[in-house]
Structure formats: structure tokens, C-alpha cells
């Protein structure tokens, strides 16, 4: 079992970049510990800005720095940066076209028993609705590295959601197929297509393995780029399938499932099932317990597919 959370990998990549480029700066809102950014702050104090518990200010300051040529990464819990600072993300980052990378840490239900105030099950919907805002949910530590290396090269704002806990690897160190804004094909199949993002990619992969072993030919797509959604990749993978199932750690509204359904229904109509968190405060528990309860596991996803094919 992997012990390295994606946020720790982000810190490593940003430290490597900061060593070479003094315009790379990190801003936190009393969140350097939860963001795994303490070692960045200690190593590059001149490229680190502490903003205190003030997420609107965090994003506004980051935008001002970007407007002056800096390459800021504003790092704060996903629940707060995506909604408390929503207007700054919209006006100061996207609308003003500033190169701010907004990183939502402890995304989804990572904070478990801390409750709905600390869960971000709306961030994909909220951020995706902003013109000019890109939305990325990397699946594992290897893809997180590739994604942050790519984001360091571009000059447009983006929102990146990372989970709190280490997640099982999807890829291996020497095999991380990655192309910016292109979904990664994890499994090919002829009957069913699974599509997931973020922490749901690993259970999706497990489900695809289960189903393929049972003789249900199942493809799997890692749609880490929720916006811009890889429409061509999705349509190519969905071609000829009977059923498409999307899986996400998010509200059932306005997230990956909504976007997948939109593209499929307009271009290649077929049955689409959206697996997501409920439209309610989630049950108290660790991420693992919550996913188990709502069927967001390899077995749960596989069971949804089996039932759908029976119906």
C-alpha cells in the first residue's frame, strides 16, 4: 500500500520548480501543514506567503502576484478555496486572466468525520461553471507529478483538487501515460465504459478488472481533466458500448457525471449511470467507510454494472 499522499508529491514538484525559478511562489491560508507545504516554506521562505485564515485574501493576493509575473500556487482546503473564495476565483483569476493555480487540498470527503463544512462535494460544479477555469483531479501520486509538471509550464488559471490521504497507485513509476487534457485509457472493453476522476479512479480500475474477469468486457477511462473534458477521448471510448458509468467523489449535480451525460447524450445516446455522493450530508466516517457505504468501491461499481446489464 502506497504511503505517500498526492499533496506530498505536489510539494516535491513545487520545490524542484522553485529551485530553478524564483517566480514560483506558494501561498497558504494557515494550511501549510494540511497542504504538506511545510518543507516548501522552510526551504524557500522567500517564495512562500502566509496569508492566515483568510481564503478570499489568499486568492486575491495570488492574483495580484500573478499579474506582476509571479507563478503562484494558492493552497487551501478544497471546501474553502472553492466556495469561500469563489468570487475571487471567478473575477481575480479567471476573468482577469491571471496565472493562479488554485489547489484544493483535503478534497471531497477527505476530512471524514469533520462533517459537511469541511467536505467539498460542490467544487467541480462550482469551478467548472467559471469561464476560463480548468478543473483537474489527479488519481494517484504518479499522475499528480505529471500534472503539476505540466501546470508549471502553462500560464492559465486552474483548479486542482487533491485528497488528504495516500491512495493506492493506479500507475507505476516507470509507466505513467500522460498527455495534458487527454483522458488516460486504463482498460479497453467492448460492452461497458467506466469513467472516473480523482480518488475514484483506483476503485474504477478494480471494478474493470473484476468485470473483465467475469466476462463483462469493460473499458476504463481516467478523466483527470474534468474541464476541459476530453470529449474526443470519451466518445472514442464509449463507441459501441451498451452502458457508460461515471464515478466521482462529488455531488450528483454538475460534476463529472453531468458532463459525461451531456456529451454522450448529444453525440452517441445510450444509457449513462452517475455514481456519486448523495445530495445530502454524507454519513460520518473515514473516506474509506464513506465510499464503502455509498458503493463507491471496486465491488460496488461492479455490482452497479451487473444490475444495469440485467435490467
Amino acid at each position: 500500500m502506497n504511503k505517500i499522499p498526492n499533496r506530498a508529491v505536489m510539494c516535491e514538484v513545487l520545490k524542484e520548480a522553485a529551485a530553478k525559478d524564483r517566480d514560483v511562489v506558494v501561498l497558504c491560508s494557515d494550511s501549510r501543514g494540511s497542504g504538506s507545504m511545510t518543507s516548501f516554506a522552510d526551504t524557500y521562505p522567500a517564495q512562500f506567503v502566509e496569508v492566515g485564515i483568510a481564503e478570499q485574501n489568499l486568492v486575491g493576493i495570488a492574483a495580484g502576484m500573478a499579474a506582476c509575473g509571479k507563478k503562484p500556487f494558492a493552497i487551501s482546503p478544497a471546501s474553502f478555496i472553492s466556495t469561500r473564495s469563489y468570487e475571487q476565483c471567478k473575477v481575480d483569476c479567471a476573468y482577469s486572466d491571471t496565472n493562479v493555480k488554485l489547489v484544493g487540498i483535503s478534497g471531497g470527503v477527505s476530512y471524514g468525520a469533520l462533517g459537511m463544512s469541511h467536505h467539498s462535494a460542490q467544487d467541480i460544479a462550482a469551478m467548472s461553471a467559471i469561464p476560463g477555469m480548468r478543473v483537474y483531479l489527479p488519481s494517484d501520486r504518479h499522475q499528480t507529478r505529471k500534472l503539476f509538471e505540466a501546470l508549471l509550464q502553462d500560464r492559465q488559471t486552474a483548479y486542482i483538487r487533491l485528497g488528504r490521504n495516500p491512495v493506492e497507485d493506479v500507475y507505476t513509476e516507470d509507466c505513467v501515460p500522460f498527455a495534458m487534457d487527454k483522458a488516460t485509457v486504463l482498460a479497453e472493453g467492448t460492452e461497458v465504459l467506466l469513467v472516473a476522476c480523482g480518488e475514484m479512479v483506483r476503485p474504477m480500475k478494480d471494478a474493470a478488472d473484476l468485470l473483465n474477469r467475469e466476462g463483462i468486457s469493460t473499458g476504463a477511462l481516467d478523466m483527470y481533466c474534468v474541464k476541459p473534458l476530453d470529449r474526443e477521448g470519451l466518445l472514442a471510448a464509449a463507441k459501441g458500448k451498451k452502458l457508460v458509468v461515471s464515478i466521482e467523489e462529488h455531488s450528483p449535480f454538475g460534476g463529472l457525471g453531468s458532463m459525461v451525460a451531456q456529451v454522450i447524450s448529444a453525440n452517441d445516446p445510450k444509457r449513462v449511470i452517475t455514481l456519486a455522493l448523495p445530495d445530502a450530508p454524507v454519513i460520518t466516517g473515514t473516506s474509506k467507510e464513506v465510499f464503502q457505504y455509498y458503493g463507491l468501491t471496486g465491488e460496488g461499481i461492479a455490482e452497479t454494472v451487473r444490475n444495469a446489464l440485467k435490467a
Partner: protein
């Protein structure tokens, strides 16, 4: 007579024309903030031939609804063609919209939603410090805007980081759309609130007086180790008795008769200044 003080009345006429041409604008605050923006732009290191010069001074109009005055001042400074602004303002497909947009030369950031400018300027001032550059950063806020909590997040961080390259100006005209600032949401003692978070505060008795404003900007530049806030006591709707100190003129479109009256009043004020 200070030539800028006279020019302020010419530019008020431009603002009036922009608003009437476009069918609406925030005339009250435009008029109160005219001398603030005009004086500031007469001092700022900006160059219309090189609007993206990395060493330029930065201005963010946090009270973005007063963009008509910014257009008039930027045009006067050589960034824009005032006749083009008048012809296009708020028209279908126009780039000259009712709030600042940074695709227009000379405009740094998009604003309109209140309470954003100060935080953005804190970021700009921090960037200048990190890069060892000596450009200065300015923002203009309204007094009604001070009810936004984000203003105070920005203020606290500017004081915390002792940003002496940052100067905030408050257009203290005491009026907002629903009435006086004291009735709607009293901001309390601004000097005390700002000083408590590490600001140097300058109160300008007449914020429509170019000389008083210049003295305040000089003092701000010479203040080290802390950010400066200039509280400029202005008159909303300044320039014509028809609109002065009237909350209803926050966003009032003058009719033909009112237009003629304001135009005559602006000309008379200018004439009086010339003979002072």
C-alpha cells in the same frame, strides 16, 4: 491655479458624455473620485507607449463602477481615445463596459465586485518586494465598499507585511446607493480601524482638492515600514448642485434638461477656477 484642478472639470464633461452616450453609469462616484484619479495618474510612472512595462506603477480601481472616470483619465494620459470611448461605451459588443477590463490598455485588473482591489494590490506589492522593484501600487475604494469583509482581510495583511509600497485611497463621499454610509452601515472610525492593523492614515479634508491630494501622495511615498491609507473626504456628484450630495445620483442617467444644467454648471465651475 493648478492646471489639473481645471482639467478635472473638462474630464467631468467627458464622463457626463460617456454616461449619456452609453445610457447609464455611476455618475455620483465618478464625480467624487475625479481629482483622486486625475492627481494619481499625473504622478504615476506609467507609459501609454509601453503599458506593460514591468517597472510601472500599478493602479487597481476597486470601486470598479467608477470606470467612466478611469476611462476619462486614461484617455487624458494618452492610453485611450476619448471619442472612441464615448462612441462605444456600453454599446453592443463594446470592450468599454461598465467596469474595468484589463484587455483595455492601462487597466490592470477586472473589477466590479467590491472588496477585491486591496487584496490584489497586496499581492502586487509583495511581488514588487520579492523582485526588488520599486514600483508603487495604488487602489481606490469607495466608503460603502468598506462593509465588505474582504477589505479588512486585505488591510490586515498589508499591515502585517508592512507594505510601504502600497497606498490605498478611500473615496469618502459619505453616500451609497441606499443613503448615507452612516445609515446603511456605519464604517466606524476608519483611522482607528486602519491604525490598529498597522497602517499610516492621512485624512484629506478636501478630497476634491488637487493640492491637498498631492501633499497626501507625497506623504504616502515618504512613509516607510507601513502601508498608507488616504481618506479623501469628497463630495458625491461634485461639479453640479443638481447632483451633489444626493444618493439618488449614484447611478442616475441625466435627462436632456439635466444634462444641459450639469454641462453649464461644469463650465461655470471651470471658469471660476480660471479666475481664481
Amino acid at each position: 491655479m493648478n492646471a489639473l484642478a481645471v482639467k478635472a472639470y473638462d474630464l467631468r464633461q467627458d464622463v457626463l458624455d460617456i454616461i449619456v452616450s452609453g445610457g447609464g453609469g455611476h455618475i455620483g462616484g465618478d464625480m467624487s473620485s475625479m481629482e483622486i484619479m486625475l492627481t494619481l495618474y499625473s504622478r504615476m510612472k506609467v507609459d501609454p507607449a509601453n503599458p506593460k512595462d514591468p517597472d510601472r506603477d500599478r493602479f487597481v480601481l476597486s470601486k470598479g463602477h467608477c470606470v467612466e472616470t478611469l476611462y476619462a483619465v486614461l484617455a487624458d494620459r494618452g492610453f485611450l481615445d476619448i471619442e472612441e470611448v464615448k462612441a462605444k461605451f456600453s454599446r453592443f459588443g463594446s470592450e468599454y463596459i461598465g467596469h474595468p477590463h484589463n484587455t483595455i490598455p492601462g487597466i490592470e485588473m477586472n473589477s466590479g465586485s467590491l472588496g477585491h482591489g486591496l487584496s490584489v494590490c497586496v499581492g502586487m506589492a509583495l511581488a514588487a518586494r520579492m523582485d526588488g522593484k520599486n514600483y508603487r501600487v495604488y487602489t481606490l475604494m469607495g466608503d460603502g465598499e468598506l462593509a465588505e469583509g474582504s477589505v479588512w482581510e486585505g488591510a490586515t495583511s498589508a499591515g502585517h507585511y508592512r507594505l510601504d509600497n502600497l497606498c490605498a485611497i478611500i473615496d469618502r463621499n459619505h453616500l451609497q446607493i441606499s443613503g448615507t454610509t452612516e445609515e446603511v452601515m456605519a464604517p466606524g472610525c476608519l483611522r482607528e480601524r486602519l491604525e490598529a492593523t498597522g497602517w499610516h492614515v492621512i485624512e484629506v479634508a478636501d478630497g476634491n482638492d488637487v493640492d491637498q491630494l498631492n501633499a497626501a501622495f507625497d506623504e504616502a511615498e515618504n512613509t516607510k515600514g507601513m502601508p498608507t491609507c488616504i481618506i479623501a473626504n469628497t463630495v458625491k456628484g461634485k461639479g453640479s448642485a443638481l447632483m451633489e450630495n444626493k444618493a439618488g445620483w449614484h447611478h442616475h442617467l441625466p435627462n436632456a434638461e439635466e444634462y444641459a444644467q450639469i454641462k453649464a454648471d461644469l463650465a461655470a465651475r471651470k471658469e471660476a477656477l480660471l479666475h481664481e
